[in-house]
């Protein structure tokens, strides 16, 4: 008998009363009169920065202004013309180390906790974490209220990976003092893109 069969056999022999699945459709989840306002507020609370982009504004110039000292910029987005590295064509994932700014796209944001859904859309997802500073391009109109709505919307492509990101990497593991920039991006800037 395989371990799988043995485990399941033992479980079936031991499990007692079986309980029904509750109805989840009646959850009275929080909604906001202006989800975008709440999203911006929460993003700042979790240590992120949000910039609303006016139609026609060149984000490449803006990113240069935001990070004047940045040398290595990694992105595979067609609208980013200042990239020095491409996570689709890089030799090994580790070669993305030393990236000053990684620029990626998010699908939608969540108002209640500032999560942004980032499905993997590049060969090496390392760019989302290894970069010192992360910039996420997010369509301004794509903000949902809460995680219930979010989990009805998430989609995967063939890469089979996606993550919700809410602000920069952080830790309080030394004496409970909050420090931004543990193992992944030390800053997160969300650019709210016009339609």
């Amino acid at each position: 008998m395989s371990s799988k069969e043995e485990i399941l056999k033992k479980y079936r022999a031991n499990v007692r009363e079986r309980y029904d699945m509750p109805d989840l459709s009646d959850i009275q989840a929080v909604t906001y009169p202006e989800p975008l306002v709440q999203f911006v507020k929460m993003s700042e609370m979790v240590g992120g920065q949000v910039i609303e982009i006016d139609p026609g504004r060149d984000i490449n110039t803006l990113i240069r202004q935001l990070f004047p000292d940045a040398k290595e910029i990694a992105s595979n987005l067609p609208e980013i013309t200042i990239a020095t590295r491409n996570p689709d064509t890089i030799g090994r994932a580790r070669d993305l180390n030393g990236t000053d700014i990684g620029i990626i796209r998010g699908s939608f944001g969540v108002a209640e906790n500032a999560c942004v859904w980032v499905p993997q859309t590049m060969k090496e997802k390392a760019v989302c974490f290894i970069s010192e500073n992360l910039i996420i391009l997010l369509p301004k109109s794509q903000i949902v209220n809460n995680m219930h709505e979010a989990y009805r919307r998430i989609e995967f492509n063939d890469y089979g990976y996606g993550t919700f990101i809410s602000g920069p990497s952080k830790t309080a593991d030394i004496a409970q003092v909050l420090v931004m920039g543990a193992q992944a991006a030390r800053s997160v800037t969300i650019l709210l893109m016009p339609e």
Partner: protein, 456 residues
């Protein structure tokens, strides 16, 4: 009752300033949790749903585990089943050996602590590097976690600063600023991420309907552990599998709000398969007692636990005695119960570490009756042969005293005489009730006489 925990707690209480800081720190986390909970009108409804989902799922695990494994395999992952810790360790080692792995980075996993995986692999020549900052600190220190979410909470910034100096991680002697130390650890761990051959993660959730492994971290270390190495192994306890995303939404909203008082973890990452440039992803489903515990009529619901840590944060005994006072590697209310399920003989001392205030089950996001369960374990202590003889004798005495009205009246009549015994005798070491506080003063008249006067 047993005194194993209180004896161990003496060590913790030797440094009263630290003990006070520990208590206040966890109370602050509890307060943050309250702010989060009170900020959502649906919080109590979410707790109800979370509890009901878990009750359903852990009593239908055979169906959900099959569904999860089928879908994970369809996604391209390789799924293994481990009956116990030994088989789990063997499977991990087998995979690593096959890929000629010398170094593995890993994110936090209480399951690998439970299976004592690190020493098993290290004895076989594999370097294992913990990448959660707290876990890394205690690994360098050769210690065990003292809390499941804040594993290095028993160390202060000077302890960490000195450790980093000794290990060559920090270069500025005497700079014990947490921001500086975190930055130095970042640099050191960055090098480990880049040079490791494999990355291991635990799993907060497995999703039956889609085959996802979901890992929640604040540091991004699970994502870093799986972004560069060519191999990803995920370790998941059977009870962590849930039906679908609608269920996940409930738990995702509660996990961090309950545990650390944040609205979410920074990263909630879904893994379905390996990166295009990596080998297959391996998922190891681990039983190690769970299929047996589900049959325990009083204690099966402890399998609902999502490991948020809120029961320890709020526990007055944990806050004032620290993680190392418990004999099981998971401390606090849920650790007391898990330890008893694991080995009643070895861990029954922990059931004394409870005031039955039930704060734990008031905050538990999945509504486990943690305190009630501890009470039930206590009723069986005598059967385990671990009851404290002194307390047993006291109980027998009290039984006699309170069982006989004549004897009780006589005793209360003479009790004020205890007041005139010199305090150095009453507060001496032989009287365990006088430890840490002065002996009480007996009233001149016993209560039943006072109430008679009042009625007249």
């Amino acid at each position: 009752m047993s005194t194993q925990h209180s004896k161990a707690a003496k060590e913790f209480l030797k440094n009263p300033n630290y003990a006070k800081w520990h208590d206040a720190t966890f109370w602050a986390v509890r307060t943050k949790r309250d702010n989060m909970a009170q900020g959502l009108e649906e919080w109590e409804q979410l707790r109800e749903k979370a509890s009901a989902i878990k009750r359903h799922t852990i009593t239908h695990l055979d169906e959900y585990l099959n569904q999860f494994a089928t879908n994970a395999e369809k996604n391209g992952a390789i799924v293994h089943w481990a009956k116990d810790a030994h088989e789990f360790n063997e499977i991990v080692y087998g995979i690593l050996k096959n890929h000629d792995v010398k170094k593995m980075v890993k994110s936090k996993s209480m399951l690998t602590e439970e299976c004592e995986m690190n020493p098993y692999l290290e004895a076989r020549g594999i370097e294992v590097v913990e990448t959660d900052l707290g876990e890394r600190i205690i690994q360098l220190k050769g210690q065990k976690p003292s809390h499941i979410v804040m594993p290095a909470i028993h160390l202060n910034h000077d302890d960490v600063g000195e450790l980093f100096e000794e290990k060559g991680i920090s270069t500025e002697k005497g700079n014990h600023d947490p921001t500086y130390l975190t930055y130095r650890a970042r640099l050191s761990l960055r090098n480990e991420f880049l040079t490791a051959d494999a990355g291991m993660t635990g799993a907060n959730f497995g999703i039956a309907k889609t085959g996802d492994i979901v890992v929640c971290t604040n540091e991004g270390n699970a994502d870093m552990s799986t972004s560069c190495p060519k191999l990803h192994i995920a370790a998941i306890g059977l009870e962590k599998v849930i039906p679908d995303y609608d269920c996940l939404a409930v738990f995702q909203r509660m996990l961090c709000r309950a545990g650390t008082g944040q609205p979410t973890t920074t990263y909630t990452s879904h893994f379905r398969k390996a990166r295009p440039t990596a080998h297959h992803m391996h998922i190891i489903l681990v039983d190690n007692g769970r299929s047996e515990w589900i049959g325990n009529p009083d204690h099966w619901e402890v399998l609902k636990c999502i490991r948020c840590g809120s029961c320890m944060n709020t526990c007055p005994v944990y806050r004032r005695s620290g993680g190392y006072s418990y004999s099981y590697f998971i401390p606090g209310p849920v650790g007391i119960n898990l330890g008893m399920l694991r080995d009643t003989q070895a861990h029954s001392g922990n059931v004394s570490a409870c005031t039955l205030c039930l704060s734990c089950q008031t905050v538990c996001p999945v509504k486990i009756d943690l305190g009630d369960q501890i009470y039930k374990w206590r009723q069986q202590l005598d059967d385990f042969g671990t009851a404290n003889p002194q307390k047993k004798l006291m109980c027998a005495g009290m039984n006699m005293l309170f069982g006989s009205p004549t004897m009780y009246k006589m005793a209360t009549a003479v009790s004020p005489l205890a007041n005139i015994i010199p305090s150095f005798i009453m507060n001496m070491k032989l009287n365990p009730w006088a430890e840490g506080h002065e002996m009480m003063k007996f009233p001149k008249k016993p209560f039943h006489e006072m109430i008679k006067d009042y009625e007249q």
